[in-house]
Amino acid sequence: MEMNGDNILEARDLLVSFSTYAGEVQAVRGVTFDLRRGETLAIVGESGSGKSVTAKSIMRLNPEANTIVGGGEILFDGRDLLKLSEKQMQRVRGPQIAMVFQDPMTSLDPTMKVGNQIAESLRKHLGMSRSRARERSVELLKLVGIPNAEERVKQYPHQFSGGMRQRVVIAIALACEPQILIADEPTTALDVTIQAQILDLLRELQEKIGTSVILITHDLGVVASVADRIAVMYAGKIVEIGTVRETFYDPQMPYTWGLLASIPLPTADRSQDLIPIPGSPPDMSDPPKGCPFTARCPYAMQVCPTEFPEYTVFSAEHKAACWLHHPMAPNVEPPVRIRGTR
């Protein structure tokens, strides 16, 4: 399978839905993106936008019983991950693609010493001996900035604070030096000072190991501080994608405008109301036929509910799906003011 040499991963037209008692929920509806070697790609969106499902589809971690992969491919290393057997997939998860979840307590085994949890993947995937794996787990704990690592490997997860636990999870994820790290809300459960420590750590490790990172988050501040590119998801679709600078300073579609306008900036004038996005996201068991943002969009036109717009390309990196860019659409000024934070 052909892949561009700059890319480590390519997702094409991914369709994922879940069968539930209330019918089929279409979580991801045709998502296409590339992940470049060594970059950090942020995927942002509200809860239910399909960002986590997209990430889990790469790892094939969605519940097997009710997940329907309706189509698409995820190319990695010349192979389509969606076509691998579970056995083949187990050789990808961990050594090649690793994942860090939001809540470090639920991703660690409470009954196992953290050293053994790190050593487990080293022994299984890299075939290290018990003693070599033990040494390496101490090194890894040091790498992620846990003081007193020789003693700490012998402790259980409950003896660690939230930030330290997340460091352990990152150490496990990086144990086999994976080519891709998927971080799903890695700092959402942490306090800001600890969040700053973990984000610094991720940046540092990325430089050292050269891992490509997919960062799932809803926090645009985190995106601005660590990501190279950003994909904005809404109702199972990528509605805008571009470099972080292009997307923050020159956003091209009303949902992205809305997201940027609804967060209070440090410079915000308190006497001005925030500009919220009215309403709430659509029901994904019966998603709208056209642009899913139509019902909440102040600029909606007649065509919007009828058909999902083509992507308009603004630069080599930047494109967005919105009817406002159709030649016949009226000119609209975005209400966004991100520049000039200081």
Partner: protein, 328 residues
């Protein structure tokens, strides 16, 4: 006050004096959740309380509305000691002080319909003379918070997170309170929905002359909504000032570190900014450090900080700090 002088007329509606709340966590072991806090909240203002998890900010809110009894110190609401009232007096105070909780899912009884949830306070305080009046009040409240009368007969699970938080707001408003403690009211909501609820709270404050204690770990939201802000660390206030002043001229090393850790949605700004890194984790409130509590993580800690309890003093008019020897 600066630009935001429109809120608050300068009279204190709530006075907190040397408030302490210790929880017993074992034999002769106590957790000092709140350890000597004094502050005043002025009528009509929004007072923001920020700090990291475990700093005691939620406990302060809960003691104020009498969900907890304090271990020491007192809380005066319009001159009356909140924790020394009983009977009818206590009931009146309960009506005047209400609370909005973080998790709208957990704070609404799933087996009650919205009209009964909202009207519970009306029933307890006999604020409606007839069934019709009660229902009219509920409808009016729902419309005030941006829901409609049709929602009155539904159950909480039929609503989205943002709508549930609106129900929580309507319930708090039902008894016509003067003071509302809002504990992380928007933290569980998506950003686009957060803005809806923040705007709603601001509008209600204007219309009803409400006073808020707004508790949150989100410094950007707190700055936006608050007139004055208090920063807590390990059960104590370390700094208190007008919101604009605090964010422009933070004096305490902890406030500085906290503010510098907040990521701002502006890539160029983020690329250039320098962070003040706080090493390590929060010490245990069971056995907090002696002297200045922040000294174990402080980038500019000095020897003397371990030996003196830093005094609470006014650095400039309206700007209070815990004056640790490392900077004061």
């Amino acid at each position: 006050m600066t630009e935001q002088g429109q809120n608050g007329d300068g009279r204190a509606i709530l006075e907190v004096k040397n408030l302490k709340k210790y929880f017993t966590v074992g034999r002769r072991v106590s957790l000092k959740a709140v350890d000597g806090i004094s502050l005043e909240i002025k009528k009509g203002e929004t007072f923001g309380l920020v700090g990291e998890s475990g700093c005691g900010k939620t406990t302060v809110g809960r003691v104020l509305v009498r969900l907890y009894e304090p271990s020491d110190g007192e809380v005066l609401f319009a001159g009356e000691d909140v924790h020394r009232t009983s009977g009818d007096e206590a009931k009146v105070l309960n009506r005047k002080m209400q609370m909005i909780f973080q998790d709208p899912q957990a704070s609404l009884n799933p087996r009650m319909v919205v009209s009964d949830i909202v009207a519970e306070g009306i029933d307890i305080h006999n604020l409606a003379g007839s069934k019709k009046e009660r229902l009219d009040r509920v409808h009016e409240l729902l419309e005030t918070v941006g829901l409609s009368k049709e929602h009155a007969n539904r159950f909480p699970h039929e609503f989205s997170g943002g709508q549930r938080q609106r129900i929580g707001v309507a319930r708090a408003l039902a008894v016509e309170p003067e003071f509302i403690v809002a504990d992380e009211p928007v933290s569980a909501l998506d950003v686009s929905i957060q803005a809806q609820v923040i705007n709603l709270m601001k509008r209600l404050q204007r219309e009803r002359d409400l006073t808020y204690l707004f508790i949150s770990h989100d410094l950007s939201v707190v700055k936006y909504i608050s007139d004055r802000v208090g920063v807590m660390y390990l059960g104590q206030l370390v700094e208190l000032a007008d919101s604009a002043e605090l964010y422009a001229n933070p004096l305490h090393p902890y406030t500085r570190a906290l503010l510098s850790a907040v990521p701002v949605p502006d890539p160029d700004y983020e690329a250039e900014r320098e962070r003040i890194v706080v090493e390590g984790d929060l010490p245990s409130p069971v056995n907090p450090p002696s002297g200045c509590r922040f000294r174990t993580r402080c980038p500019q800690a000095v020897e003397a900080a371990a030996h003196v309890d830093p005094p609470w003093r006014e650095a400039k008019p309206g700007h209070w700090i815990q004056a640790c020897p490392c900077f004061a």
